[in-house]
């Protein structure tokens, strides 16, 4: 009957209970959306970096990154690719030739990272092809095709079929130049990719420098469910003398961004929980203070303190039981809509693109986050009810009964 009394007590002050319930629903809904959007921003940034730039893992010669010198290549790098493909959790793998170069148009010149790709294997790892906004990928019969970012194209003042000259050092340190024609222009969120990198066919680099096809980088993309540590271990076993790095090692700023997102989420949740605590304390304290005589009577006739305490907590529990699932459900519906249709931030697109975010984000919340939120709300609400409940059991029946 205690559950029953607590339930009915919730509805004694219908308006007051509805106000706190509505406030909790809106709060939970808002919190769900906010966390979903924080997730979306982090995921979109990470996705852009992983899908178009880094992949999940990279293998290099230990000295390669010092000055991107072609001579630091992976011996038989492409031969090992088949072994990597066999590793459980690997979605795609590709070999790349990378060289630093000076790119020159008739107007100006700029330093770039030239990424030589295998046309067939690259799409299993990188989706640069999807970013093409003009022209086409490295297909067709054109000799020495090159694709570059929109910003770099603007800077060099080039269009499709414009001629560009790449100047780089060969293995012996001699300066070599080769002419390329713009085959496609892409638009990437990453400033590095948009302004500082160009894509060519690996075999064109090899031909330009008069050497065999060099593999300086092996990029590996994992399945979403893959165990990153386990794959890392297997890849390290294949490339024992080389440097195997995870995306978080290659770009520690992303890991930092993820940590910052977690901190932002924690701050947001803390603010919400504090507001919830004050809301619950206020509501339940009012509920206790206006029932002092009744609580005094209950203790006078023999209701012990544990029962009185539990009754106040049950009342709070019911407030949470009504509002939390509704708030989470609305949050789920809204997130489902936006995770399917995307949330268009194009009015802020310029600023976002400059820092590497997508203009359309897809907010999501993992089941664990829903569960964590629900648990947090109930625990916080019950903690908030402790003070009113303690106040209730500290009442002396004889004094409480004489309260007007």
């Amino acid at each position: 009957m205690l559950f029953f009394i607590a339930w009915r007590n919730v509805w004694r002050q219908r308006i007051r209970s509805l106000v706190i319930i509505m406030a909790m629903i809106v709060g939970v809904w808002g919190l769900t959306l906010a966390i979903g959007f924080i997730n979306a921003f982090t995921d979109s940034y990470l996705d852009n970096i992983v899908k178009y730039e880094l992949a999940h893992m990279q293998v290099h010669h230990p000295k390669f990154k010092d000055d991107f010198d072609l001579k630091y290549d992976l011996k038989e790098g492409d031969v090992q690719l088949d072994k990597i493909k066999q590793i459980e959790g690997v979605k795609g793998v590709t070999a790349r030739s990378i060289v630093s170069a000076m790119i020159s148009s008739s107007k100006t010149a700029s330093g770039v990272k030239v990424i030589g790709i295998d046309r067939k294997e690259e799409p299993t790892v990188s989706n640069v092809e999807d970013l093409i906004i003009e022209g086409e990928y490295l297909d067709g019969k054109m000799r020495n095709p090159i694709i570059l970012g929109e910003k770099l194209a603007e800077k060099l003042n080039v269009k499709i079929r414009s001629k560009l000259v790449l100047t780089f050092q060969n293995e012996l340190g001699d300066i070599t130049a080769a002419a390329f024609r713009v085959n496609g222009i892409y638009k990437a969120q990453s400033p590095k990719l948009n302004e500082g990198s160009v894509f060519v066919r690996a075999r064109d680099i090899a031909r330009s420098i008069g050497a065999e096809n060099k593999v300086n980088e092996v990029a590996i993309l994992l399945e979403p469910t893959a165990n990153e540590d386990s794959v890392y271990k297997d890849v390290s076993n294949i490339y024992q003398q080389y440097l195997v790095e995870k995306w978080s090692d290659i770009a520690p700023e992303i890991e930092m961004l993820r940590s910052q997102s977690k901190i932002s989420t924690t701050i947001l949740v803390t603010i919400f929980m504090l507001a919830l605590v004050f809301g619950i304390v206020n509501t339940m304290l009012m509920a206790v203070l206006e029932r002092i005589r009744e609580l005094g009577m209950l203790m006078a006739i023999g209701m012990n303190k544990i029962r009185v305490f539990s009754m106040i907590l049950f009342e709070t529990f019911y407030l949470g039981l009504i509002s939390c699932p509704i708030g989470l459900f609305f949050g789920y519906l809204t997130l489902s809509y936006f995770s399917y249709n995307g949330f268009d931030l194009s009015s802020y697109a310029k600023g976002l693109e400059d820092i590497g975010y997508s203009t359309v984000v897809y907010p999501t919340l993992a089941f664990q986050q829903y569960a964590g939120l629900a648990a947090g709300i109930f625990i916080t609400a019950l903690l908030g009810a402790m003070y009113p409940a303690f106040k209730a059991i500290r009442l002396k029946p004889v004094e409480a009964l004489n309260k007007i």
Binding site: M1, N9, A300, I301
Partner: protein
């Protein structure tokens, strides 16, 4: 053997500031089955004495023995259990649980005693029948008149099968018809169930109905009259 023994009870409020002596050495014995009214002017100590007998307040000095047990020595948690199983309360303003119906109000106290649902509902209904309010069993206090609410309160007080019932000014908020009906009902309970009733009251109609009248003035008993037809009380 007396069910209540009040031995030299003194109660002083604000002992460290401006002391107010509410009771100044009260001695009293109540036998089973009594129908006793404690009367006296306002501030005479009636309610204080009732609260101390009911274990709701503690004496500054003296002892309260109920069924031979000194309740003035009990801890608060023990007192709550003791009140639940030994004392029934009827309050001036009924003090029913507003969210429960009449039958639920009566059954609630038995739930606190862990009586089975079937048994408590059966007894609650029987008690409501005895106090003459069975037809309104499913109504909430707000749907009952003052007299009807006080009847439910009496049924609730009886539900836990207490040794005695303390009623603090039970008729103060009732009109004369309701007062008369309530007193008749309680007198009948006293006769039939041998329930012991102790009232604090100003109400002459209660005093007329009581079989023993204890008069308090300035915290001491100035008279204790047992009406002549109460032979069974003094046995």
């Amino acid at each position: 053997m007396a069910i209540i023994e009040v031995i030299d009870v003194k109660k002083v409020y604000n002992p460290d500031e401006i002391p107010v002596e509410a009771l100044r050495g009260v001695n009293l014995q109540i036998e089973p089955g009594e129908f006793t009214a404690i009367v006296g002017p306002s501030g005479s100590g009636k309610s204080t004495l009732l609260n101390i007998i009911g274990g709701l307040d503690s004496p500054t000095r003296g002892k309260i023995l109920i069924g031979g047990r000194d309740i003035s020595e009990m801890k608060e948690s023990q007192l709550i259990d003791f009140r639940l199983n030994n004392i029934g309360f009827v309050f001036q303003s009924y003090n029913l649980i507003p969210v429960l119906t009449a039958i639920e109000n009566v059954a609630f106290i038995m739930e606190l005693q862990n009586v089975s649902k079937k048994e408590r509902n059966q007894r609650a209904m029987e008690l409501l029948e005895e106090v003459g309010i069975a037809e309104q069993y499913n109504r909430r206090p707000s749907q009952l008149s003052g007299g009807q609410q006080q009847r439910v309160a009496v049924a609730r007080a009886l539900a836990s099968r207490p040794k005695f019932i303390l009623a603090d000014e039970p008729t103060a908020n009732l009109d004369s018809v309701s007062t008369s009906n309530l007193l008749d009902m309680m007198a009948e309970m006293n006769e039939k169930e041998k329930a012991t009733f102790i009232f604090s009251t100003h109400d002459q109609r209660v005093i007329d109905k009581a079989k023993r009248i204890i008069t308090l003035e300035d915290g001491i008993i100035v008279s204790d009259v047992v009406k002549s037809n109460l032979t069974h009380v003094s046995e």
